[in-house]
């Protein structure tokens, strides 16, 4: 089961500069464990105490997983996961909220 994972610039040191990597897992948690097996150190940047880190946003097919099941969100073959840092000082939901109005 292949899932495409988009890696933000700040974490590409773990992926040899790759913007996109592939991984496997039935849930986000399993996917991160799978990524860790090839990109050591990356999991710790995403997960803390079994939960998503506060300043990390993860999107499943562009949908914010905090509104799904968080780190337990189920994944399916062909899904696309996007990881993004949230803005420092923001609430974790703040990023990009002000559009051009």
């Amino acid at each position: 089961m292949a899932i495409e994972v988009r890696i933000p610039t700040i974490l590409r040191t773990y992926t040899d500069g790759e913007k996109t990597v592939e991984g496997n897992g039935a849930t986000l948690d399993e996917l991160f464990a799978d990524l860790e097996s090839r990109h050591a150190g990356v999991r710790e940047r995403l997960v803390e105490d079994g939960k998503l880190r506060r300043f990390v946003n993860v999107y499943l097919n562009d949908e914010d997983v905090r509104f799904l099941d968080g780190i337990s969100t189920e994944l399916a073959d062909g899904d696309s996961v996007t990881i993004l840092p949230a803005v420092a000082g923001g609430s974790g939901t703040a990023m990009g909220i002000t559009g051009r109005r």
């Binding site: 999107y59 562009d62 914010d64 996007t82 420092a88 939901t93 909220i97 559009g99 051009r100």
Partner: protein, 316 residues
């Protein structure tokens, strides 16, 4: 339909089904054509409502100067209303916004104060707040925190949608001031059991994203997370792709942020198909494509070329 003045013609926009982009017969996507408002965007609703409420409670009186941080549409709506009603208006907007927007604001008589590109709208808000402190007699309607922004949508957009489509299951709109989502969202939640309120927020490429990161995250005072069911983060590639599909497959010429909302609408539509549910999904066409023509995205040979053309620009 007949109205007593151009300002009275705000709202009552068409709701059209998208026969080609709807995922299935049972999962239908509907576009609320807010570009059909007098100045061409959804912002005519909150702008006019905020002005009228401020007049009603005495904050805005003849001869007043209106001040507003805006990267375009709200300023254009406010400027038109200000001209017709005889107010002076000063708009603070990021320097990296399109020339069309500047032309339109100037055309309606607005004075423009540019804020640095870094930090985007967040910086414009900060600069406007500083100006407001320096000019206590200026009236800042402040769309990000003015309850009359959401109130306009609660009073008009929500009721129009429900009257046209009582079977609505999802409402999707862009997340900017959050006024549309908060106002329509609250109205629908009070009347439609289990209605899903879906936000589509812009995700910029690394360049613009980096610029925005120089500033602190900013959550509009109007935002209340519990109104939303879920949030989509839509990148430039998907927003541009959907904007072009909307044009080519359905004949709707819309701005780029509409492409982002459509992308989220198709996203929830696909989930409904997968779950075997039927759905009536309404998304907001916030404005037409006119103000974005100079980007070249509508006529570019390929989507890749169109995305390239948009690099580094704010599009929502």
């Amino acid at each position: 339909m007949r109205y007593d003045s151009p300002l009275a013609a705000v709202g009552n926009t068409p709701l059209v089904r998208l026969p080609h982009l709807s995922p299935s017969e049972d999962v239908r996507i509907w576009a609320k054509l807010e570009d059909r408002n007098p100045t061409g965007s959804v912002k005519d609703r909150p702008a006019l409502h905020m002005i009228e409420q401020a007049e009603k409670d005495g904050r805005l009186t003849p001869g007043c100067t209106i001040l507003e941080p805006t990267s375009g549409n709200t300023g254009i709506s406010l400027a038109m209303a200000a001209r017709l009603k005889g107010y002076r208006i000063v708009c603070v907007m990021p320097e990296n916004t399109s020339s069309e927007r500047r032309e339109l604001l100037t055309m309606w008589g607005a004075e423009i104060i540019s804020s640095p590109a870094a930090g985007g709208s967040n910086t414009a808000v900060r600069v406007a707040k500083e100006l407001s402190a320096d000019h206590p007699d200026w009236v800042m309607l402040y769309q990000y925190g003015n309850p009359d922004n959401a109130g306009a949508h609660y009073a008009t957009t929500g009721p129009e949608i429900l009257a046209d489509l009582p079977s609505i299951t999802h409402f999707v709109a862009g997340l900017g001031t959050t006024g549309t989502l908060m106002g329509v969202g609250r109205y629908l939640r009070e009347r439609v059991p289990d209605v899903r309120i879906v936000a589509a927020e812009p995700r910029y490429d690394d360049l613009v994203y980096g610029l925005r990161n120089l500033d602190e995250g900013f959550v509009p005072e109007l935002y209340e997370e519990s109104v939303l069911t879920t949030r989509f983060s839509v990148g430039s590639v998907d927003a541009v792709t959907r904007t072009r599909e909307l044009l080519q497959q359905e004949g709707i010429f819309a701005g780029v942020s509409t492409g982002a909302a459509l992308h989220a609408a198709i996203g929830v539509g696909r989930k409904a198909v997968k779950a075997g549910e039927s759905a009536d999904i309404v998304f907001v066409v916030a404005d037409g494509g006119w103000k974005y023509l100079s980007t070249g995205i509508y006529t570019a040979e390929t989507t890749e070329a169109a995305v390239e053309a948009l690099q580094g620009q704010l599009w929502a």
